[in-house]
Symmetry: C2
Subunit: 100 residues, 2 copies
């Protein structure tokens, strides 16, 4: 299966912002989210999400919409559509507690 | 001047995620950012940014790109293009210090 292309757009102490581009049928591969994150759909995103139990669920995330998820999510994400699919992921870095 | 349309997509303890849609020539109106924020361009965004000194600066933010800015920024943002312009703003809420 073709791999989705991940491009880090910005990273600083607060966030890591990565765009994911998926050719039709491409996938991220299995991964676990280490940080809370926001997904912003750039194109319409016909995602097939494969969960820990192996079950696949198809969901359409329309362009210009967004959602937030907690750290700890584990899945594979596949472009179930026939066109390029792109979204931007904004990972929220845990706040660094100020020096005592 | 026509107003840009702001739609809050998600809000929780961590972030407020708002999509801004601008008809050609529409503007946000003068505003100050109270939180650090990430901008993710959904469409190509031909922005005219008017700063505190009144000077206008045109910048093209391509679809699928993003940038991060600190709280305190003050400006007006205008769609200087001839097509609909949309971006999603992710405001980063200050971490709530845990109860003592």
């Amino acid at each position: 299966m073709e791999q989705a292309v991940a491009t880090v757009l910005v990273e600083d102490a607060r966030v890591r912002v990565t765009r994911f581009d998926f050719a039709p049928g491409a996938a991220t591969g299995w991964h676990r989210h280490g940080m809370d994150y926001v997904i912003t759909a750039i194109t319409d995103c016909p995602m097939r999400i494969v969960g820990p139990d192996g079950a696949a669920r198809d969901v359409l995330v329309p362009a210009g919409t967004a959602y937030v998820r907690d750290a700890g999510v584990e899945h594979d994400v596949v472009n179930a559509g026939s066109a390029l699919m792109s979204f931007v992921e904004i990972e929220l870095k845990a706040p660094v507690s100020p020096a005592p």
